[in-house]
């Protein structure tokens, strides 16, 4: 099982390394969003600084949609999804492998994005413990929900364009939790950060469990 998870995740990361779709397309898009927010919001009145965490996580969610789409379009090409179904790999292993790969890709993207935000929005990063914990939990949660919906587009032709509508409302709690916790970590608002982290953690657990179970009918039903 663990071997299969690693097999899938390693394959996905290798594919990303070869094709550089994440680095070459999604990351520039995310940076573009960071710039566009500056155009949309008044840079002189400090709106950007105040809203840094929220804007950051909105960009991450948009990027996540693209990363998930890419992750599953790879499986859609050349009948590979059928080959996976024929392989006898456990659907849960395929699911967890995809979640792991999406998580790693998103984490890399977020690292660059935090730097960009720190420089462009003049944000001092801090509260490292809470910040890192929030980033990890929010990312795993996003990947867990994303991978479950990613396969929907695979099995249902024409549902690819539905991914944002399906995924983003589901991720609303992640956006709320991650923004609030990041605000606290960055010192922009007071209060304990751990309830938010706990909310994100619960989201992760729930969707990882559901995804592992529900991937089987999604993959195996003919």
């Amino acid at each position: 099982m663990v071997r299969d998870v690693v097999l899938i995740a390693a394959k996905d990361l290798r594919l990303e390394w070869r094709s550089r779709v994440g680095a070459g397309q999604v990351l520039p898009f995310a940076l573009l969003c960071v710039l566009l927010f500056a155009f949309a919001l008044d840079v002189d009145r400090g709106v950007l600084q105040q809203a840094t965490a929220g804007l950051f996580w909105v960009v991450v969610l948009f990027a996540a949609v693209l990363v998930v789409q890419r992750s599953f379009s790879v499986e859609a090409s050349d009948g590979v999804i059928d080959a996976l179904r024929l392989s006898g790999l456990s659907p849960a292993a395929v699911y967890l492998g995809k979640v792991a790969a999406i998580t790693v890709e998103l984490l890399a993207l977020e690292a660059v994005l935090w730097l960009a935000v720190a420089v462009l929005y003049d944000t001092t990063l801090g509260g490292w413990g809470l910040l890192v914990g929030t980033v990890l939990l929010a990312t795993v949660g996003t990947a867990a929900a994303g991978a479950t919906y990613g396969v929907v587009g695979l099995r249902l032709r024409g549902a690819e364009t539905l991914l944002p509508l399906l995924l983003l409302p589901l991720l609303a709690p992640v956006l709320i939790g991650a923004t609030a916790a990041s605000d606290i970590a960055l010192g922009r608002s007071a209060g304990p950060g751990w309830p938010w982290a706990a909310l994100l953690g619960m989201f992760c657990v729930v969707y990882l469990l559901l995804g592992s179970v529900l991937f089987r009918p999604l993959m195996e039903d003919s």
Binding site: R157, L165, L170, P195, D221
Partner: protein
């Protein structure tokens, strides 16, 4: 089940049965009673004044919607377990009615807000949650509209029906905490425990009426879904016959 009586030759009300006719009559009587109590008999609320009359619509619609989504989720689980058309169609029918009720909840909430706050929209936690969840279920209905093999569509929508219902409490919690700092007194979404007398009676009457309405709509909607599937099957049967004819013509 057996056909109880030969169908009358006149135009038939196609999805009604004795049970739904009884339900329908009860619903209509209930609506009239609710209107009498809600609009005329109950006194204005001490705090909310006349606006409480909108809440007699707002609260039962949201409750019925949640019931509908729970039905969808239970039917989705049952589908993945039993794999029968019944559960798939039940899940779909219930979700559609839930979306209707959610839309009405938001509509009533906005009217209430306009009177109370002077604006149609404020980031009141219940209203916000409802809207996010409304969009979730619009996604569910959109998935159902994608033409696909029946079993694939059923499986995929069952999964979404389950994920969406799990999302309800999480979104609730998240939005509550999010607005927690500037919480207003909220009366949305619950029957206020301080309600008394005719107000309390009307609140529960509203709940009953909307649950009856939900049941009535659900049965009809389910039967429509059933009919549509049968109609699709007829189309398919014809396609199969055509395809077979093709083999007779072209056979060497």
């Amino acid at each position: 089940m057996s056909v109880i009586a030969p169908p009358p030759p006149t135009i038939r009300p196609t999805t009604s049965s004795r049970a739904t006719r009884v339900l329908g009559v009860l619903s209509i009587v209930g609506i009239v009673a609710l209107a009498v109590f809600g609009l005329f008999i109950t006194p204005p609320d001490a705090e909310l004044g006349e606006t409480i009359r909108i809440l007699y619509m707002h609260v039962p619609t949201v409750s019925a919607a949640y019931v509908a989504f729970v039905v969808t989720a239970v039917a989705s689980v049952a589908y993945l377990w039993k794999r029968t058309e019944f559960w798939d169609l039940l899940a779909a029918s219930s979700a559609e009615i839930g979306v209707l009720f959610f839309a009405l909840t938001i509509f009533n909430g906005m009217l209430w807000g306009k009177i109370t706050w002077g604006v149609f929209w404020r980031w009141e936690p219940r209203l916000t949650t409802t809207t996010v969840l409304f969009l979730t279920y619009l996604g569910y209905l959109a998935v159902r509209r994608i033409p696909a093999t029946v079993s694939t569509r059923a499986t995929v929508s069952a999964v979404i029906g389950i994920l969406a219902v799990v999302n309800i409490p999480i979104t609730h919690k998240a939005v509550d905490w999010w607005r927690g700092l500037h919480q207003e007194k909220t009366i949305f979404g619950t029957v206020d425990p301080e309600m008394q007398g005719t107000q309390l009676f009307t609140a529960y009457l509203g709940l009953t009426v909307f649950l009856l309405l939900f049941l009535w709509l659900l049965i009809h909607r389910f039967r429509l879904a059933w009919l549509s599937e049968r109609a699709e099957e007829r189309v398919l049967d014809r396609a199969i016959a055509d395809r077979r004819a093709e083999s007779v013509e072209e056979a060497p």
